[in-house]
């Protein structure tokens, strides 16, 4: 009988220690993430801050790192962003409205469509690059142009936008729809005047997050031929480079000066993406409605 409380006490002691070690491991896990994030930001800023200047923003790239800038790349990234929004938002919202408001879930083709969208969201981006190379650049004979880049990025983020828009539409309560129907509205009127306005903040947030993801993509653009040396400002049907591609090209050079240049371009890129993300979060907090 004596041994039992003794064993129990011993067990409790051990499990207390196991609990502490375990909690320590959990903290370590979080620390791995945050320490790396910190080191990354420090590394980028320490190396790149001194070259974030007028040269970077207003000069074309050059083989001499001292006078090399990223103006064509920055402009192309902005063009890509605008084209992306123009392509993805109508297509994404259209598909989402169809799937949420019109599609009959029982039909096999609608279920197939859903699984399909989920799968597409997880296809490696480089595979989209191959698609762009085969169909847009070579197949359609579009060439290595900005439009091809924008189209391939559109395909890349479309599933993300569709999923976000569907969630926003699904969050609109049915009572709103029933109320509109009760007042004699047609299906079109319900969707266009009730459901869509109510889901705009969610859709906007999702689209901006998708945009910021697309603008950071490099691999598919390499394949559709975002030329690594472009000394002129981009046009929609002209050859182009983009900020991440420019960064890659600079990082890939062995000289330290180009790495520094890459770091300053990274600061600009992170600046653009963080602004977009912050804007999306602000939108969500500002207009989020609880039904």
């Amino acid at each position: 009988m004596n041994a039992v409380p003794g064993r129990l006490g011993h067990g409790a002691q051990r499990s207390k220690w196991a609990g502490r070690v375990f909690l320590g491991f959990l903290w370590l896990s979080l620390a791995v993430g945050f320490v790396t994030l910190g080191a990354l930001l420090v590394q980028v800023f320490a190396q790149g801050y001194k070259w974030v200047d007028a040269v970077l923003f207003f000069e074309p790239p050059s083989t001499d790192p001292l006078i090399a800038g990223a103006e064509p790349a920055i402009l192309a990234t902005i063009f890509l962003g605008l084209l992306l929004l123009a392509f993805t938002v109508p297509l994404g919202v259209g598909t989402a409205i169809y799937l949420e408001e019109y599609a009959n879930r029982e039909r096999w083709y609608n279920r197939l469509l859903e699984v399909n969208i989920q799968n597409l969201a997880a296809v490696p981006s480089i595979v989209y690059g191959i698609l762009g190379l085969a169909f847009l650049v070579r197949g359609l004979g579009l060439g290595r142009v900005l439009l091809a880049g924008a189209m391939i990025l559109t395909l890349l983020v479309l599933p993300t936008v569709i999923i976000a828009a569907r969630e926003a539409i699904r969050a609109v309560p049915d009572s709103i729809r029933q109320g509109a129907y009760a007042l004699g509205a047609t299906k079109w009127q319900v969707v266009w005047r009730q459901v869509l306005p109510a889901s705009i903040p969610g859709i906007a947030t999702g689209s901006i997050l998708a945009l910021s993801r697309a603008l950071g993509e490099t691999a598919p653009l390499l394949l559709v031929g975002a030329l690594t040396y472009v000394a002129f400002n981009p046009t929609i049907l002209g050859e182009f480079t983009a900020l991440p591609v420019q960064i890659y090209q600079w990082v890939a050079r062995p000289q330290d000066e180009f790495r520094t240049l890459a770091a300053s371009a990274i600061i600009v890129l992170l600046g653009i993406l963080l602004t977009l993300n912050a804007f999306a979060i602000w939108l969500r907090n500002r207009y989020e409605r609880r039904w």
Partner: protein, 274 residues
Amino acid sequence: MSVATTVGIVVALFLPAFEFFGEISIVDFITGTEWTPLFTPSSFGVLPLIAGTMLVVVCASLVCIPFGLGAAIYLSEYARARTRKFLKPALEILAGIPTVVYGYFALTFVTPRLQELGLPVGVFSALAAGLVMGVMLLPTVASVSEDAMAAVPRDLRDGAYALGSTKYQVATRIVVPAAISGIIASFVLAISRAVGETMIVLIAAGGQPNWSWNPLEAVQTMTAFIAATGQGDVPTGSVEYKTIFAVGATLFVMTLIMNLISIRLVRKYREVYE
């Protein structure tokens, strides 16, 4: 539209890939250990590329699986609501950083640190690329696993506490087993992303196909091969052009299988508790 994309991907990848296998035997492709498509005499064994990919993926998994799961358990079981509200988006910043930036970080920060530790790594190594990729995937594992753990009903935890369990015991013996299918789904998803990730390996793992299992050496992955070959002006219809599609098709099939597994697992745990 999305169906058209899928059909497009399949057609775009597999037609040239079939042409490729018309010229090169599929057996040689799958079992060969030499990958030198751009030299003469050329050799098309994909195994070195797959080995390179696997090496990087294993390094990445060693980081993202334990630490991602640890972060998920902390967020789900230990953190207070307010801490979680702050920590979760902060962790997700990691997932929003462009991969080209991680590549830069691996090359200019992680590799020199590894060298300082006395590891004989060169300028390019599978290890540096893999470690950084692991950190990049940490939020993926953390957030999908955390969703799975959040779906475990409170009653199960309360029952265990009522029997005198400690927090540690509840986390490891109740919550993790109950959410296991979602947790495994998060691992599969992360591994599939690691297989498909391009920029980090292109920048930091090197460009030498290498039939080796030593993570300190430079390797070339499937994605890095595609990117390195596709960015040049490869003539349409040449064998080199078709290798892009053959490797791309291999990559697509591998990630597709993993994604299907992951979607099925996620659905399974949803069915249990909702």
